[in-house]
């Protein structure tokens, strides 16, 4: 108020009206986004079960989590998943977006089909793939029919740790790549075509056009999508929980599943919220990169 910049000449502050407009949204935002963070923090300093508060625990829950090998193992599994899935979730959708941008006949059909798995529920895709991957399922049968596996051979896609990870990463790529693909496609369509035409006249082949025009133009978007994908993959839970249930022998149990099991199966809500909070801080650090990038991007947009 006391600064009173010129653009306020027409109107002063309308705090009352603004409050009326803001309240319906903010009530939910505060109760279901902000309160859980602080309440969780409060719970994490107590011994707490589903029956309620059992007493103050200080830093005990945090110290316990830090010494808990299963906590670190689950974090490791999540990290491993991020490392395996991120390159695929960048390369596959990027390649598909290049195909869609190549003006083939039937590209609307192709786009629809490439994107379709993305709209299915995690419950649906999980149970479809459980049946495709089980020992007498579609994949093994197919591999036998085309002769890659012998008639009596079978691969245990979900029961052998290495194969289980491969399966989970491939399922996730199949399911979620469409989102990144559309983002890439939008980026590709923003590149002015005259740049390509000029390069073609100068004798640049398709590969050179990709390296010298497309990739530099897509740099920002590639960074953004990588950050978004890393964060999304860090939160992996549903498909692993449903397809392998974290098995075999907890070898694929992710951190979110471990937090869930600690809270609701072991009935240790205090410990569970302490783990949540530690994971939360790790994700915030990761997201901070996204936020910085995002801010820069939207400044340019305006």
């Amino acid at each position: 108020m006391n600064k009173a910049p010129q653009n306020q000449r027409r109107k002063g502050n309308h705090n009352g009206v603004a409050a009326i407009f803001l309240t319906p949204y903010f009530a939910f935002f505060i109760v279901f986004s902000i309160v859980p963070i602080f309440y969780g923090l409060y719970v994490s300093f107590h011994k707490w079960t589903l029956a309620g508060k059992q007493g103050f625990a200080g830093l005990d829950n945090y110290l316990y989590a830090i010494k808990d090998p299963d906590f670190w193992a689950s974090l490791g599994h999540t990290g491993y998943f991020v490392l395996l899935s991120t390159p695929l979730l960048i390369l596959v959708p990027f390649a598909l977006s290049l195909i869609l941008d190549a003006k083939l006949k039937g590209r609307t059909f192709l786009r629809t089909v490439y994107f379709m798995p993305n709209i299915l529920s995690v419950a649906v895709i999980s149970f479809v793939w459980i049946f495709i991957l089980r020992s007498d399922g579609l994949l093994n049968t197919l591999l036998r029919e085309i002769g890659i596996l012998g008639q009596e051979q079978e691969l245990f896609w979900l029961d052998e740790p290495k194969l289980a990870w491969i399966s989970l990463v491939l399922i996730t790529t199949w399911w979620t790549q469409g989102f990144n693909m559309i983002m890439f496609l939008t980026g590709l369509q923003d590149i002015p075509t005259d740049q390509y035409e000029a390069a073609t006249i100068d004798g640049a082949n398709a590969w050179k056009r990709l390296v010298y025009i497309t990739l530099p133009a897509m740099r920002q978007l590639l960074i953004l999508i990588t950050v978004l994908t890393v964060i999304a993959s860090s939160k992996v839970f549903g498909q692993v929980f449903l397809v392998t249930k974290g098995g075999p022998a907890n070898e694929t149990r992710t951190i979110i599943q471990y937090i869930y099991e600690t809270g609701f199966r072991s009935n240790e809500l205090g410990l569970s919220t302490a783990m949540s909070f530690m994971f939360f801080v790790m994700l915030i650090v990761l997201s901070f990169l996204q936020f910085k990038f995002f801010n820069r991007k939207s400044d340019q947009g305006e």
């Binding site: 309308h14 407009f21 279901f32 859980p36 559309i182």
Partner: protein, 279 residues
Amino acid sequence: MPEHASRKLSLPVLLLYIVAFSLAIICIVPILWMVVTSLKPEGSVIGEIGRRFLPPFTFENYQYIFESAPIVRWTMNSLFVSMVVPILSLINASLAAYALSKINFSYKKIVFWVILSGMMLPGEATIVSLYMVANGLDILDSYYALILPALAGPLGVVIIRQFYDGIPNELVDAAKIDGCGLFKTWWNIFLPLSKPVMAALFIFSFLGTWNDFLWPFLSIQTEELYTLPIGIPFFMSSYNQDETLPMTVNAYASVPIIIVFIFFQKYIVKGITFTGIKG
């Protein structure tokens, strides 16, 4: 013209077509497999793969799942929640966005900054405490649990505000001269103008709510309140060996949204563009 003709016939282009359509097959085969399996008589074994795609087909699996689980109820729950969440959250978000874009008030920057940082909050990481908050409010195991927490998402506010920023302030002034209050201006001018954004956000929110698994799975115990996604695992455990019945439930839960997707693709694509780039 000759350029065009040679492009059509060239080997690289032909290869590109082969690659493009092979990838399309990989994307769609699991979905087709789900649908054809649901149409096979109960207890079918795999045998020859090609045979799965040929008749005889039957709808008796569908009849069976309707008889053995309250699947009609689950469908209504899913539909109800997936309609109510987008409607309420779009109304709330556009009101907030209007204030953030067109009304002067104290601490506006801070308020917007808080919402924007809300986008960074990883909901999955605080799901245990959300459960406890919902428990404290006594809304667990009810429609409130399925609807109210979903209204807290900040994405809609940020995107709609961006859109409102593009609408000139002069329009608000002109409406004021014509005797429109702020609320009427929002309702008569801003809402109609933002139809394309709202449509994209609506479809997006609809699909997200329809498919949501983790939160309904945690918050709902009563079978009558299940949504379709959490009803599917329920079905699985009872019929583990047979492939046809679980695939029938899967197909049943998916076909409606596949149809929604095919008709409203344009908006879904737009929605993704908003979240990623323009957001």
